[in-house]
C-alpha cells in the first residue's frame, strides 16, 4: 500500500493503527465466494425505476414479485432439503428437545480453552457457559452459569454459518444466530449483574435509587416507561429460574438522545455496580427480554432484532426453542 499517512505530531496514532492483523482470514474469502453465488447483481437503473414507478405499476410489480418468489421458492426448496451443497442456506432445525441437554461434562469439551470459546463456533447440541473464563477481565465466567441447546449448524464451514458465542464475560454472554437461520439478523445477549437505570443527560451508568431487582420490578419499570412501547408480559418458568417475557421498542414520540445513538434512545439497563459502566439503550432495535430470578440473582435473556426485519414471531420461532432449553440448575 502506498503510504499517504500524514507526518504529524500524532505519530502515536499512526503507530497504534499499525498494530493489528493485516491479513484477511481465508474463511472470509470462502464465505464471500459462496454468498455472491446466491446474490444477484442489481441493475443500475433500478433506483430510477423505483422513483418513477406509479402506484398502479407498483401493485402489478408486487404481484409479479410474489409470483416470482413463489416459483423460485418452489424450485429451490427441494434442493435445500437434499442437495449436498445446500449447507449454508439450509433451513435450521430448531427442534432439539430441551430434555436433550447434555451434562456440562459433555459441553465442557467446547469450552475447555479460551480460544475454543472465543472462536465460538458451536456444534448442534448442548453447551455450557465456561465457568472459569471471562475474556474481558480474565476472571470467572458468566454468573450464574447455564446450559443450553442450539440446533445443528455448519460447523467446519464459515463461522457465520453456525451458532457462535462471540462474548463471554462475567455479566454478558452473547450468542449469534447463523446466517442461514430463517431470521438470522438477531442476537442473544444474556445479562447478569444488572440494575434498573436512570436516564441522565449523558446516558452514563446510573442506578435508580431504591429500585428493586426482582423480575416484577423490571416489568414495572419497562411497562411504566413512557419512552417504550411494550407487549403484555408473559410468565415464564425455566429449570432453576422463573420470571416474565416482554418485548419492547422505542416509543415513536421519544426524543432524548444518547451519544452515538441511532436517533432517540431510551436507557433500559445498567450494572448493579456503577463502576462497571455498562449502559444499554433502545434506539432502533426491538428487544425481547426474558427476565428471570435465578436463586436471587437477576438474569435477562435478551433477543435483539430489527423491527424492520423479520416479524417478531419469525424471530421467536428460531429463538424460543433455545430459550426453552436454558437450564440454570446444571
Amino acid at each position: 500500500m502506498t503510504d499517504r499517512r500524514p507526518p504529524t505530531s500524532d505519530q502515536f496514532l499512526v503507530a497504534w493503527f499499525e498494530d493489528g492483523p493485516t491479513r484477511m482470514p481465508d474463511r472470509v474469502f470462502d464465505v464471500v465466494a459462496d454468498r455472491i453465488g446466491r446474490q444477484r447483481q442489481r441493475r443500475s437503473w433500478r433506483l430510477l425505476w423505483r422513483l418513477q414507478m406509479h402506484t398502479q405499476l407498483k401493485l402489478v410489480a408486487a404481484l409479479a414479485a410474489i409470483v416470482v418468489v413463489a416459483v423460485a421458492g418452489y424450485t429451490l426448496l427441494p434442493k435445500a432439503a437434499v442437495g449436498p451443497g445446500a449447507g449454508p442456506k439450509a433451513t435450521p432445525q430448531p427442534t432439539v428437545a430441551p430434555t436433550a441437554v447434555a451434562s456440562p461434562t459433555t459441553a465442557a469439551a467446547t469450552c475447555d480453552t479460551a480460544f475454543s470459546c472465543a472462536d465460538g463456533v458451536l456444534a448442534g447440541g448442548a453447551h455450557h457457559t465456561n465457568p472459569s473464563i471471562d475474556f474481558q477481565t480474565g476472571a470467572g465466567g458468566f454468573d450464574p452459569g447455564f446450559a443450553f441447546v442450539v440446533p445443528g449448524g455448519s460447523v467446519g464451514g464459515p463461522p457465520a454459518a453456525s451458532w457462535r458465542n462471540v462474548r463471554q464475560w462475567i455479566d454478558m454472554y452473547e450468542l449469534h444466530a447463523p446466517s442461514s437461520a430463517a431470521a438470522s439478523d438477531f442476537t442473544f445477549i444474556v445479562h447478569s449483574l444488572v440494575a434498573i437505570p436512570v436516564q441522565n443527560d449523558s446516558c452514563t451508568a446510573e442506578m435508580q435509587a431504591g429500585a428493586g431487582k426482582a423480575p416484577a420490578d423490571w416489568i414495572d419499570f419497562l411497562t411504566g416507561n413512557p419512552g417504550l412501547v411494550t407487549s403484555t408480559p408473559v410468565a415464564t418458568t425455566l429449570p432453576g429460574a422463573s420470571g416474565f417475557t416482554i418485548s419492547f421498542t422505542r416509543a415513536p414520540d421519544a426524543t432524548r438522545l444518547c451519544p452515538g445513538s441511532a436517533g432517540p434512545a431510551v436507557v433500559v439497563m445498567t450494572d448493579d455496580n456503577a463502576a462497571g459502566g455498562k449502559v444499554w439503550w433502545v434506539d432502533d432495535q426491538r428487544e425481547t427480554w426474558t427476565i428471570l430470578d435465578v436463586a436471587g440473582k437477576t438474569v435477562i435473556i435478551g433477543i435483539e432484532s430489527d423491527p424492520n426485519g423479520p416479524p417478531e414471531d419469525v424471530v421467536l420461532s428460531v429463538a424460543d426453542p433455545i430459550i426453552q432449553s436454558f437450564d440454570f440448575t446444571r
Binding site: 500524514p6 463461522p159 457465520a160 452515538g260
Partner: protein, 186 residues
C-alpha cells in the same frame, strides 16, 4: 487501478463471479485491515467485510468509473463498519479493563498501558469518529476524501477529526500522569 484490474472490474460488472473473486483475492487483506481498525475486533471485522463485499458485488453495476473501485469499496465497507459499531456501541457504552497484574519491565508496562488507554478511548468515540481516525491515520485519507466516504460535509469531518484526536491524546496524557503518580492503571 492497472488495466488488468480494470478488466476484472468490468468483467465483474457484467456478472463474472470469478473476476470479482479475483478482485477480492488481491485486495482482501487491505479491506480487512481497514475493517479491523474501525471495529477493533476480528470477528466483527470479518462479519463486516463479508457483508460489505456482498453489497459491493450486488451494487457493482452502479460503479461508473472502474478506477474508483477501491475508494468505492472503502466507502461501502466503512459504512457497514459504522453501522455495526453503532449496534455494538449501544450495548456497551463504557468498557472497563482491569489493571495489569505483576510488575513487568517498565518500558513494556508503559507500552501495554498506552495501547490499553488508546483502545479504551477509541471505544468511547462515536462510530463515525472511529472511522474518521482509521481513514485518516491508517489509510492517509484527506478530510475531503473522508467526507466523500461518509457522505458528510468536509467541515464536519475536520471538526470531528479534531475532537477525536484530542480525545485520544488526552487518554495518553492521562495514562502518563497516572504512571508518574504511581496510580493504578484502570
Amino acid at each position: 487501478v492497472v488495466s488488468v484490474d480494470r478488466d476484472l472490474i468490468e468483467a465483474a460488472q457484467r456478472g463474472d463471479q470469478s473476476a470479482f473473486v479475483d478482485l477480492v483475492r488481491s485486495r482482501g487483506d487491505r479491506f480487512f485491515a481497514l475493517a479491523y481498525r474501525i471495529l477493533r475486533d476480528v470477528d466483527r471485522a470479518e462479519d463486516a467485510l463479508q457483508d460489505a463485499l456482498v453489497i459491493a458485488w450486488r451494487d457493482l453495476r452502479s460503479l461508473r468509473d472502474p478506477d474508483r473501485f477501491d475508494a468505492w469499496v472503502h466507502k461501502v465497507l466503512t459504512n457497514v463498519c459504522v453501522a455495526q459499531a453503532s449496534r455494538e456501541r449501544r450495548r456497551i457504552a463504557n468498557l472497563h479493563v482491569l489493571p495489569i497484574d505483576g510488575p513487568p519491565a517498565p518500558d513494556q508496562l508503559l507500552s501495554v498501558a498506552d495501547r490499553d488507554q488508546l483502545d479504551r478511548a477509541f471505544r468511547r468515540l462515536t462510530p463515525e469518529e472511529r472511522a474518521i481516525l482509521a481513514l485518516r491515520f491508517y489509510l492517509g485519507y484527506e478530510p475531503s476524501e473522508i467526507a466523500d466516504v461518509l457522505g458528510a460535509p468536509a467541515g464536519s469531518v475536520r471538526s470531528r477529526l479534531h475532537h477525536a484526536v484530542r480525545a485520544m491524546r488526552a487518554a495518553l496524557d492521562a495514562d502518563a500522569r497516572s504512571v508518574v503518580a504511581g496510580g493504578t492503571v484502570r
